[in-house]
């Protein structure tokens, strides 16, 4: 293994190791949260709700929940990890190493991405045991979910780098991220909304992410799948390029 490979592996291992050391909080809690959503919205309320576009309500919400779990965990892991390391000053150890801005950015991104992946896979396995969850278009589902995970991992890195206190991360998550995800149609079909909310939903980027993932699982989509995938790819690439520029300039990382 080359020195660069050892370096990247170690930088990434540190990020994965961090959340694995506190897995009750980083894996257990989000899993419980997702199951509570499935229980309340799926099992309890779902039995009183008609099928949506011919799909049982509980099955309809699960793809959105899986996407939400990946997104929120990818985001919050990276934002918290970077901010904590900035607070402790421990991030200086990585910053004063020979690691390039690209290596640092990818390694910091990977932590949240992996945590989101673990929670999403466990949710998928458990949901598959509870209900009959189809996977209709795996070739759309996998890139879709990976892009969503990577996009929110990047967003977490961005907020973590910019944040100066833990409030900054909490505010971004509570007042921006969660409303966008909830109003993006995790728990309902946007077509059921009255105007102007139905139109407004189309301006929410998360709507297209949910539509994409739902299509991958259920074969049903309210949005144009190809355009959604293209949009998500472009948005992820743009955010990654933006973060890489910040890392190269040392923005809020190097004095």
């Amino acid at each position: 293994m080359t020195a660069a490979q050892i370096r990247f592996l170690t930088l990434s291992r540190r990020e994965v190791n961090r959340f694995m050391k506190i897995k009750k909080q980083t894996i257990g809690a989000p899993l419980l949260e997702t199951f509570l959503y499935i229980s309340v919205f799926g099992a309890a309320l779902g039995s009183r709700i008609d099928k949506l576009h011919g799909i049982d309500y509980v099955v309809f919400v699960i793809p959105g929940l899986i996407m939400m779990a990946w997104a929120i965990n990818a985001f919050s892991n990276n934002a918290s990890s970077i901010l904590q390391q900035k607070f402790q000053g421990a991030i200086q150890d990585q910053l004063s190493s020979p690691a390039s801005p690209l290596e640092l950015l990818l390694a910091f991104s990977l932590g949240g991405f992996m945590r989101g992946l673990v929670v999403a896979v466990l949710t998928f396995i458990a949901a598959s045991i509870l209900v009959d969850l189809p996977v209709d278009h795996i070739l759309i589902l996998l890139p879709g979910l990976f892009l969503v995970g990577f996009f929110f991992a990047q967003l977490g890195v961005l907020i973590g780098v910019r944040a100066e206190q833990f409030d900054d991360v909490a505010i971004a998550q509570t007042f921006v991220l969660q409303p966008l995800i909830f109003l993006g149609g995790v728990f309902y079909s946007a077509s059921l909304l009255p105007e102007p909310f139905q139109t407004l939903t189309h301006f929410n980027p998360v709507y297209y992410m949910i539509a994409l993932v739902r299509y991958g699982f259920l074969g049903y989509s309210e949005a144009n799948v190809a355009l959604s995938l293209l949009f998500l790819t472009l948005a992820t690439a743009a955010l990654f390029a933006f973060n890489l520029r910040l890392f190269s300039r040392g923005y809020k990382l190097r004095a």
């Binding site: 190791n17 402790q88 200086q92 020979p98």
Partner: protein, 256 residues
């Protein structure tokens, strides 16, 4: 590879707040030297060190570490530098052994070599019993020892110690002195910043005074005393900071 461990030329650093921390600083540390950097709080010592290790970005000037441009060729330059910073900056999530292992990994050291090196340093710095403990459970002295061990993990040719003995007890201070003197004898170049005049006198071959972001004088302890027309390094320092009245000789005179 140049034998000059650190070559700093016309280095300037202005923070976004407008504070000019370094002004046209030029400094050379020869390979194998034990070099001291003395100056009052806020003089620019840590900023200079941060510029040399990539933690701060200079606004102007050049820095070379054994001939490698610390900005353009930062990978090679940083590989050769070990930094023990002034503030304890250990990762709370890691154990003592992991702290050392991860650090060496960041510098590309293979696993087997990392294990051996970590074992050796854990023993040297008397951290064996704490090797599996998380860093936040360590005492202040242990944390200080671990920070130094971490800086040495990747076998740097230039070791930068930013006030390594600030706030440590006398035994640990002397222990650290013995250790850094030994590794200097073995060939590692050392750049030390300190507030303790005695520390600089005991350890350093050459000392530079830094004040208000500028190197104002440099030389051996005797040369600096001669420059300021006083009898010792402490008086030279007090003259530099404009507090000659605090000189022990003045106080002794007053007492008698």
């Amino acid at each position: 590879m140049s034998d000059r461990a650190l070559h700093i030329e016309n280095l300037g650093k202005r923070y976004p707040t407008g504070v000019e921390a370094l002004r046209d600083v030029s400094l050379d540390v020869e390979g194998g030297e034990f070099f001291g950097l003395l100056g009052p709080n806020g003089a620019g010592k840590s900023t200079l060190i941060h510029c040399a290790t990539g933690l701060a970005q200079p606004t102007s000037g050049t820095i070379r570490v054994f001939g490698h441009d610390a900005i353009g060729d930062y990978g090679e330059a940083r590989q050769l530098v070990g930094l023990a910073p002034q503030e304890i900056n250990l990762d709370w999530f890691l154990t003592v052994e992991e702290t050392l292992d991860y650090h060496a990994g960041y510098f590309g050291m293979p696993k087997r070599e990392r294990r051996e090196r970590a074992r050796e340093l854990i023993e040297t710095f008397s951290l064996t019993e704490k090797r599996d403990e998380r860093t936040r459970t360590l005492s202040g002295g242990m944390k200080r020892r671990l920070v130094l061990a971490r800086a040495l993990m990747h076998k740097p040719r230039l070791l930068i110690l930013d006030e390594p003995t600030a706030g440590v007890d006398i035994e640990l201070r002397l222990e650290l002195w013995h250790y850094v003197r030994r590794i200097n004898d073995e060939g590692t170049t050392i750049l030390l910043t300190t507030h303790y005049i005695e520390e600089a006198e005991q350890l350093c071959d050459k000392i530079a005074f830094i004040n208000e972001g500028q190197i104002v004088a440099q030389g051996s302890s005797a040369e600096l005393s001669a420059t300021y027309g006083v009898t010792g390094l402490e008086d030279a320092y007090l003259t530099l900071v404009g507090r000659k009245e605090l000189s022990r000789s003045v106080i002794q005179e007053l007492a008698s």
